[in-house]
Symmetry: C2
Subunit: 151 residues, 2 copies
């Protein structure tokens, strides 16, 4: 497939630093590291890659909610996100029939708003339809347990 110039391109360059640690660079931003806890074979100096993926789900919602709220004239004053992913380690150890990625993801949004439940549902529906990281997990068949809470 030829990649169209109208597509948005996102890139990262990384270097193995020994053990299971990597040094990661995105554009001109400061480098950051990934590692694993000791029980997963690392030296626990930085978050691991799948932790960055659940953080990216939060961050992606933190883009899409304000953007779509703007379109819907939906008012809010704050948002917090808490996400946990659950991985069956037998998958990454190579056991047949066990997915190496998320068995389940629990995703909680806490939004400070005086809007009605109906309006909140409208926002949630649009965000879930259009959020890149959310749909990546959804399309991968991950069991997503999503809860939005008004505060």
């Amino acid at each position: 497939m030829a990649v169209s110039s109208s597509l948005v391109k996102v890139s990262a360059a990384s270097t193995w630093e020994g053990g299971v640690k990597t040094r990661n660079v995105i554009r001109n931003f400061p480098e950051f590291y990934m590692d694993e806890p000791e029980q997963l074979g690392g030296t626990d100096t930085a978050p691991n890659p799948m932790e960055y993926v659940v953080a990216a789900l939060n961050g992606c919602k933190g883009v899409m909610i304000p953007m779509i709220a703007g379109e819907l004239n939906f008012s809010f004053t704050g948002i917090r996100f808490e996400t946990s992913g659950y991985i069956d380690p037998r998958g990454l150890m190579g056991e047949e029939g066990v997915s190496p990625h998320f068995k389940k993801v629990k995703f909680n949004v806490y939004i400070q708003t005086d809007e009605t439940d109906e309006r909140l549902e409208q926002l949630k529906s649009q965000v879930e339809k259009r959020c890149p990281v959310f749909n990546l997990l959804k399309d991968a068949g991950v069991d997503l347990e999503v809860q939005w809470h008004k505060e």
Copy 2:
């Protein structure tokens, strides 16, 4: 579904910081931020969420390659990764029939090794079968263009 205690849990907590920016916390590690470039509505103070996802692919390979190389007694002295993902922005703008996440991901591994091509293929095959982030993209139906280079 009840989540078994034998599953590995990965979590992130995030707070919206105004605009499309989030402050993200993983365990006891230093906070880090996500934002968007100005043309995508942000203030360009940090990488965006999908950039973290492509970095996580690199980081995940940086765990799985050393781990599986150890199992296979495969020797190498260095690894670099370069990943680019391509997103059609019409998807996240809500256009029907356009995926909001990756249309394509180009993933390059540069590995310093004197092992044979056959042994490298054996390593690659195991890594692709077991790498969590790689399989998340694969299961989501992303067009993955993967190249491993011996250096």
